[in-house]
Symmetry: C2
Subunit: 577 residues, 2 copies
């Protein structure tokens, strides 16, 4: 076995072709075993094994610098985390300079590698250094605006920069966009087609038909090493290569839950009930409303829109590929011409669309609907995918009505109201999957903007529990009751505006207003309540997360650290009465 003995790229430089083949097989075996237990990104990582071996054979990392796009394919320097079960959890799943000297950046969003690499290259030139800079990017990521802007800048540079274009003819789901016709032609013509995006962007270009052939890759890498101008090396790889189920069902195996290696079956299947509810609502709306249209930016799984469901939606569904700016601006255009568009994506990826939300949608007051999934401290916990910065980012954009449902029933009512209405741009902060059903009556129309719901009238203390944290408000109220306090319970429903009449009325028989939000406090919901009562004698306590980047945290520990358990909330309230 080679893998256990490799401790640096030096150790494989003199491998024979045969040894490289065996190493690739060992790597896939280790990756398969770990993935079956641990879950994680799968297909793209299996496709790029030979390319990584070839890169380390030809180039000298970390002097030569690799920048992986999204970066879950980058395993260099992490052998133990793939070989030994007790170390499976030691690594982040993305590049991270603190984990490996071969990692340049902590990245997890798509389409960044070329732009970051242009910066490395330009800095190298300023310093008079000579290393190779290599950006690695998949075809799915190429549709993102940041990647295309980076390609354009690269096309004007005049020193070493190598862009390894890893084309497996897939995004997370199937690829979408006109550029993929061009990539197909390039694959079909052995790189000879005139329809060449890279040449159109002013770049030199090489093609490798079999990107899973390490020897072919080494030959072309040797050719472009130390090149004096930017070049794109287009390699064709097979997503999921080496594992039958992943080769056959590429979308399912882009990222995968722990599974049985023999059958490929997931050990503990899990579907986000809110994703499922969303998909079912869409299928019904597509039948009832000719103007309905659902938009995805390459993450149909966020809404559990399986291939069969996408087919059923037909003309009422569009996937624009990894292109969030396009998704949001297109939604504005759709609304302007009378359609009822809804765009759903993970919270972290909405960060790509601040300007489109503000300018294309909200300045125009275009009645499009946006579904923000996994906006919660109980969502993805990689630092690059955190979903709880959305309230500062989105709720402070004028005209946007940002809603926070507290149950599946309320989410349904908000969907049913938001999508067909033609007055407001609306975003809905979809609850995290543990937020369960409720018997509380549900409001049907949200036309009366910023009207909060008083669920229970009490006195002395009023607790405003926003969205996911309404349940925490209820739990804290139970604790307070043990101390003889009957707190008022409020479900605010609206993140983006304040119910000033209600806040005014609370002054009559309350001395403390408490806000709970599942997101960072800075720029968030609670601070606006603190401002409202700023010059009044009413006390205000805001609960939420401290403004920080958190990485692979323990959910319970994070809650405790930020005083977000019912006991802590109640204690803090009592201490301030």
């Amino acid at each position: 076995m080679y893998l256990e003995k490799i401790n640096s790229p030096e150790d494989i430089k003199n491998f024979t072709a045969q040894q490289r083949e065996e190493l690739a097989a060992e790597m896939r075996a280790a990756m398969l075993k770990r993935a079956s237990v641990h879950g994680g990104h799968f297909g793209p990582d299996f496709g790029i094994v030979e390319a990584v071996i070839a890169l380390h054979t030809v180039f000298d990392s970390p002097k030569d610098k690799f920048v992986f796009d999204i970066s879950h394919q980058a395993l260099t320097g992490r052998k133990d985390a793939y070989l030994y079960a007790e170390h499976y959890d030691d690594v982040s799943g993305y590049t991270n300079p603190e984990e490996s000297e071969h990692d340049m950046f902590n990245v997890g969003h798509t389409s960044t590698s070329i732009s970051l690499a242009t910066g490395l290259a330009k800095a190298r030139d300023l310093k008079g250094d000579k290393e190779n800079i290599i950006a690695i990017i998949g075809d799915g990521s190429m549709s993102g605006g940041e990647a295309l802007e980076g390609l354009d800048t690269a096309g004007e540079m005049d020193s070493n920069l190598i862009i390894l274009f890893n084309d497996n003819d897939m995004s997370i789901a199937e690829v979408h966009g006109g550029m993929y016709k061009g990539f197909k032609e390039l694959r079909d013509t052995n790189g000879k087609s005139e329809r060449n995006l890279f040449k159109a962007m002013g770049l030199d270009y090489r093609f490798v038909a079999d990107g899973n052939d390490a020897e072919a890759l080494i030959a072309v890498f040797d050719e472009v090493k130390d090149i004096d101008h930017p070049v794109v090396v287009h390699i064709v790889t097979q997503k999921g290569k080496g594992y039958k189920f992943a080769e056959e069902n590429k979308e399912d195996w882009h990222w995968h839950m722990p599974f049985d290696i023999e059958t490929g079956e997931v050990k503990q299947p899990m579907v986000d009930p809110y994703a499922e509810q969303t998909a079912k609502t869409f299928l019904q709306m597509a039948k009832d409303d000719e103007k309905f249209i659902a938009i995805s930016a390459a993450t149909p799984s966020s809404m559990n829109l399986t291939p069969a469901r996408r087919q059923e939606l037909g003309n009422h569904y569009i996937d624009v590929g990894i292109a969030e700016e396009q998704a949001v601006a297109m939604a504005s255009g759709l609304a302007r011409n009378g359609a009822h568009p809804v765009f759903g994506d993970y919270a972290s990826f909405f960060q790509r669309t601040y300007d489109q939300l503000a300018q294309d949608v909200c300045v125009n007051n275009s009645p499009a609907t946006f579904l923000v999934f996994w906006a919660s401290m109980y969502g993805m916990n990689d630092v690059t995918h955190l979903g709880f910065y959305d309230i500062p980012m989105m709720s402070n954009i004028p005209n946007l009505v940002y809603l926070a449902p507290t149950s599946p029933e309320e989410y349904q009512a908000m969907l049913d109201w938001a999508i067909p209405q033609e007055k407001y741009p609306v975003a809905i902060r979809v609850p995290h999957m543990m937020v369960g059903s409720s018997n509380r009556p549900v409001r049907k129309s949200y036309d009366e903007l910023n009207k909060y719901e008083v669920v229970k009238e009490g006195s002395r203390v009023a607790i405003i529990g926003l969205g996911n944290f309404y349940n925490l408000a209820e739990d804290a109220a139970v604790k307070l009751k043990e101390h003889g306090i009957e707190a008022t319970l409020i479900n605010p429903l609206f993140i983006s505006g304040q119910d000033k009449d209600l806040l005014e009325k609370l002054k009559a028989n309350h001395e403390l207003v408490v806000t709970l939000e599942d997101g960072i406090l800075d720029g968030g919901f609670g601070e606006k309540i603190a401002r409202f009562y700023g010059a009044d004698k009413m006390k205000v306590l805001n609960f939420g997360l401290a403004k920080k980047f958190y990485d692979r945290y323990d959910y319970e520990a994070l809650a405790k650290e930020n005083h977000l358990t019912a006991v802590q909330v109640a204690e803090d309230i009592l201490a301030n009465l």
Copy 2:
């Protein structure tokens, strides 16, 4: 004279070629006269006159729908504002559906037209309608990620969509990026070159060599009218056509102050002193520090980097074109490889880069510097270019040190500290041009994060005047003195964090803390102070702008509306003691 008699596109449909030529001349004469008095966008508008005439000759607006990119070239339905001096101020300078039925959107940022048009087209198809959808976009805007994402989606669509690509070989300044090599080849080969970005994106393509020849344009528009798939019509126009000075100096005449028609000389030259200070600092730093590099995204004028200065900066300057995502991510790459990058742009355009600031820069803690110009209610006052939403957007991103200088001296100290340091990502909110010199001592290092400056110790009331509004704090304090109150005056310097020790100390002999910020209150600076004192008896008053979109407002009226005069601030303080 034709122009005065035209009231709708119908009126020019049967014009002869001769009449169209005369109309174009009349339009240019009216535009020239107005621009000489009123100022505004110039070069691009003069270049596209024939294209607009040809569009209205062939297509039937508003049934057929035009979407102008940035949209200052769209004058349809605004005749009076160009013919009669008393109406010069009646229109916004951008498309606005409230001004003209021929306008589809209220836009002002670049690179949006294709994405918006794909939405219009898709909605049309859902409804079974048949109109033509025409996106108009300049070559300068084509480098923006949103435009490229839009092009990619368009390349997969299969119904009518016409993209009029107006190529005048200029952005605001000269164009930058590899794609422009391709556009030049297309111009040089009469559209025949293989290096064709549009074909690479899966699109059909037509070329018109003289885009200022209305007859040639009409011929090709007739050809593509009612086409059943997306097509790009590439036309070559002359920026500034018809006015000698604008033809000769395209960058100066992209947008122009009021000028003398005979000499082309600006009547009241005005240079933002902070832009000038920035440019001079850069020129010096480029001499002193081999690692220094200034980045622009097609707005070198924001930093008064004239062509001569850009040449002097040489390798220490890069313009990435209209590509703010690239600019910010590249800055991160530059910092990671040891350079000292600084990217300056107008506040409104930073909106394009939320995710790059958060992910590419701040998650990586890359020590790059960002200069945010015209972030003020005293900046651009078109709704699409407002610069005062930056504090909620930027200051709530973890790790970013966002500084607010209160004078040119402090701005200089912050530039001198931020650019060479290698610890923090730093943004500086550049003061608006009326913020003058001060004799106050200036801090040299900002390494002690979030340490506010107490300029004057007083009691009862503490006024925290952020950045541009520090002077307002001083003026309000003068008013308070008339009422016997010696207020404490604080220059916080840091937007992105609180000086908790100081805030704690203020409790000893103050009953009211006042915050003043030149931006919207929601998600801003003051609310964090309100949160800090939420459960304390300290009163807090936050002054700033209400969260709204404002359009072409009067500065004084807006200040009054939001209680932002010294007299109002003092009155509100007194009323709350």
